[in-house]
């Protein structure tokens, strides 16, 4: 019985993942999105509504966080975002996409 319940639980968990859209990490690993040179993410190649939605959601949340850091340090949000872009590029795993200074997509 216990096994049945845990099996059911893992099944619902498995079913829940595809239902709740693609995660940022998945999209990055699959090369769907990359780190833009602006401190935000952007679609690399082919776009789907699901990826589009992810980009908007993630970028909105990032913008809020950048804004609060900018406010705390009394600097412009663009300065925070630019610094974040540099640091995020460095954090990427091999094969993931980032944008160079000229806006070209490159693979790490």
């Amino acid at each position: 019985m216990k096994r049945f319940i845990s099996g059911l639980l893992s099944l619902t968990l498995l079913a829940a993942v595809p239902a709740s859209a693609i995660t940022l990490k998945q999209a990055q690993t699959q090369g769907l999105v990359g780190e833009a040179n602006s401190g935000y993410i952007a679609v690399v190649n082919a776009s789907t509504p699901e990826v589009e939605k992810l980009v908007v959601e993630v970028n909105n949340k990032r913008k809020q966080e950048y804004a609060s850091i900018a406010k705390r340090n009394n600097i412009d949000i663009s300065q925070v975002a630019a610094r974040a872009a540099e640091k995020l590029e460095a954090r990427l795993s091999k094969g993931e996409y980032y944008q160079d200074n000229l806006g070209r997509w490159k693979q790490k």
Binding site: T23, V58, N73, V80, K87
Partner: protein, 70 residues
């Protein structure tokens, strides 16, 4: 009386000439004020650097906390 007058005039001329020499000799010394500007620039750079370090730290914390969006 007349003699002293001459001496006074000579003395005054000497003081004047010496004064001009002194003044002209002192003029380059005034230029020493210039270095005060680069120091101000240095200070600004230092403050900017401190903010940068602080922002970097806050960004690192952010990347750890908000794993889903970074």
């Amino acid at each position: 009386m007349n003699q002293t007058g001459i001496y006074t005039r000579a003395g005054a001329t000497f003081v004047l000439v010496a004064g001009i020499f002194f003044l002209s000799a002192c003029t380059p010394t005034v230029a020493v004020q210039a270095p005060s500007e680069p120091i101000t620039v240095n200070l600004n750079v230092k403050i900017e650097h401190e903010i940068r370090v602080k922002v970097d730290k806050e960004l690192d914390d952010l990347f750890e906390d908000k794993d889903g969006i970074f």
